[in-house]
């Protein structure tokens, strides 16, 4: 047993650093039938935030413990129109985004337990074969931080080419569930999830293929696969897919009053595929083009029906609103294109990076276009500028809520 516990008695090294974010966001909110005068959704037009994200790490031979608490102080201005009224509120939060133990049990066996983020695959927009983490539209914003899930993970390197990873999510991380409640009480319904991942890769790790099986949301069984092929000319191709038994997302359905409600699907059989395929070229700049196929998603007609469920004044309207925001879909419709360009080492001192990203809905031709500039100001400070444009009419997926958002901020690291 000494190989298990022998290292615990050795002195551990403690390390600490902290990222402090200071940023402000202005949002140009679309005046629409969904949010007339901003009285329906009450979204902030101004947001100012200070976000302190330290990392505390204890490391010894064969194990380490990492904790990343988060202290967020935010002030928001919600502006209503007709008549114009500004309401300032503050939202302060203390949270733990990551806290886990990593234990190198044997040379080729490692164990992790706690709150952590664990994703895989070559795609940038989504990791469909991963049942624990989902798409978040703001995830590419400079100030975004992914909250960890409560995971238990065992990894075995059978050889340098073959790895098996067993991951379980036995308990909730106390965040609202990805899918809105479907029971009358509106309670959060966490269900445990698990996945078994096997990966085969070459010695460089630039060509790999993996298969995944497990149980995801609502304990639906799934299997998935991912693969990346990188060629020496800087071009790589990749895919990542999940095939799930039955749908979990809400779907629009006519109620007795000839209006639409968002309800749990009755067609719980069949295999439903969510997949991303992409190509990447890494030269001076880094280019990507990805296609996302989201079979469980709503058709264009279903999207309109779902949107209409929010507009009719009926008893189920609040429930429909929750289900529209968290429908149990990575993205709401079925097909998308995603393109991104990363341009590093710009400006005189080569200390600036630009990102341009575009997510385009093939269902309604709306798009979310993002531009981010990142510049080193000093050894400990990085400045950011971000502009997000949402193109499309108010009836479209990306054009529903905002016209544009602009964020300016800085990160200071201690």
């Amino acid at each position: 047993m000494s190989f298990l516990f022998g290292s615990l008695g050795r002195a551990a090294d403690f390390s600490f650093y902290s990222d402090q974010y200071l940023y402000g966001t202005y949002s140009d909110i679309k005046d629409s039938d969904l949010n007339t005068d901003n009285r329906g959704l009450a979204l902030p037009i101004h947001l100012f935030a200070a976000d302190i994200r330290p990392e505390l790490k204890l490391t010894s031979e064969g194990w380490d413990v990492v904790a990343r608490p988060r202290f967020e102080f935010a002030g928001e201005n919600i502006q209503y129109n007709n008549p114009v009224k500004n309401t300032w509120t503050s939202n302060n939060k203390i949270d733990l985004t990551t806290a886990y133990l990593h234990w190198q049990m044997l040379n080729s066996v490692q164990f992790n337990a706690g709150l952590e983020t664990y994703q895989w695959g070559g795609a940038e927009i989504l990791n469909p074969s991963n049942p624990f983490f989902h798409f978040e539209q703001q995830s590419k914003s400079f100030y975004y931080v992914q909250k960890g899930e409560a995971l238990v993970r065992l990894g075995i390197d059978w050889t340098s080419a073959v790895t098996t990873t067993l991951i379980g999510e036995p308990v909730s991380n106390n965040e609202p569930e990805w899918i809105a409640p479907d029971n009358a009480n509106g309670e959060n319904q966490f269900v445990p999830k698990w996945a078994l991942k096997n990966e085969l890769r070459n010695s460089s790790g630039d060509k790999y293929i993996g298969v995944v099986v497990g149980q995801g949301e609502k304990q639906k069984n799934f299997f998935g696969e991912y693969a990346t092929l990188t060629f020496s000319n800087g071009i790589s191709f990749y895919v990542d897919a999940k095939h799930q038994q039955g749908r979990v997302n809400f779907v629009p359905e006519l109620n007795g009053l000839s209006n639409y409600d968002l309800v749990a699907p009755t067609d719980s059989g069949g295999l439903w595929t969510t997949a991303v395929g992409g190509v990447r070229y890494e030269g001076t700049f880094d280019y990507r083009l990805e296609y996302l196929f989201n079979e469980p998603g709503w058709s264009r007609e279903e999207f309109q029906q779902a949107r209409n469920s929010l507009l009719v004044l009926q008893a189920t309207q609040p429930q429909n609103a929750l289900r529209f925001v968290n429908p149990g879909l990575e993205l709401r419709t079925q097909q998308y294109l995603y393109a991104s360009i990363r341009m590093p080492e710009l400006a005189d001192k080569k200390d600036m990076t630009l990102f341009v990203r575009d997510l385009f809905s093939l269902a309604d031709q709306s798009q979310a276009l993002q531009f981010v500039a990142e510049k080193n100001i000093s050894d400990s400070v990085v400045g950011y500028f971000e502009a997000d444009s949402f193109i499309g009419s108010e009836e479209t997926e990306f054009g529903m809520i905002y016209n544009y958002q602009i964020s300016v901020g800085a990160k200071w690291t201690l």
Partner: protein, 243 residues
């Protein structure tokens, strides 16, 4: 006819001997730059002077065979950044990313130093050597090798490499384009001593890389405190990278 045949045989044999010597020299020189089978750890500090601006970056490097894990430690804004080298491929991770991303080892690390300069070198694995000539530098008789990249994933297309015939250590390098034009010039010092399997041998202490066109632009990589350590192969697997 016999004379012609014998002449050809002698010429072929000498070529073979020279080719073998080039590879052997290269393998021996890799040892002084981390190209050994067991785990090694060292601190790396990169001081860069570029267009009149000075900057510094520091890293903790763990290497084993063809793999390396490099953690950025300074400046403060780079804390949390990690690079994994698997053979010739490289992965980058920083806390704002959800997962490691593969990047080119040719991408700039700092100034004249490319990402591939910071970890251990495996020129014998990555390049085909031929002996060009011998030359004396600073009183040391050196075999001058021309190294040609085996594929485009390695850091440089071609390298002209001066290896001290006595110590078998590379002391000067010209990093060349495909057309053979010098991009950068490097000078190596070996003031460190590494103990491995009961033996001690010189280990690189400094690599100075100078821009061939603009000599005032240069980067100096200081390799400090090299020591052998028991390193699990799992730490070089990006699936196991703690995030």
């Amino acid at each position: 006819m016999k004379i012609i045949f014998l002449s050809l045989l002698i010429a072929l044999t000498s070529l073979t001997v020279r080719a073998e010597s080039a590879i052997d020299l290269l393998k021996a020189s890799d040892r002084g730059r981390g190209g050994i089978g067991e785990g090694i750890v060292w601190d790396a500090k990169v001081e860069t002077a570029e267009d009149g601006e000075q900057s510094e970056r520091e890293f903790l490097v763990k290497a084993k065979g063809n793999d390396a894990l490099v953690e950025a430690t300074e400046p403060a804004r780079t804390k949390g950044e990690k690079f994994i080298f698997n053979d010739r491929n490289m992965w980058f991770y920083k806390p704002s990313l959800k997962k490691p991303v593969s990047i080119s080892s040719r991408q700039k690390l700092s100034g004249q130093a490319a990402n591939g300069d910071i970890a251990s070198t495996h020129y014998a694995r990555d390049y085909n050597p031929t002996v060009e000539k011998t030359e004396v530098i600073n009183g040391k008789k050196c075999a001058v090798l021309l190294l040609k990249a085996k594929n485009s994933q390695v850091t440089y297309d071609q390298i002209r490499y001066w290896i001290d015939e006595k110590s078998k250590l590379g002391i000067k390098a010209e990093f060349l384009t495909l057309q053979g034009k010098p991009l950068k010039i490097g000078f190596l010092d070996y003031r460190n001593v590494l103990k491995s399997k009961g033996q001690s041998f010189p280990f690189v202490s400094q690599l100075t890389i100078i821009d061939a066109r603009f000599p005032k632009n240069k980067s100096v990589i200081h390799y400090g405190n090299p020591r052998t350590e028991e390193l699990s192969s799992s730490i070089f697997n990006m699936n196991n990278l703690s995030r």
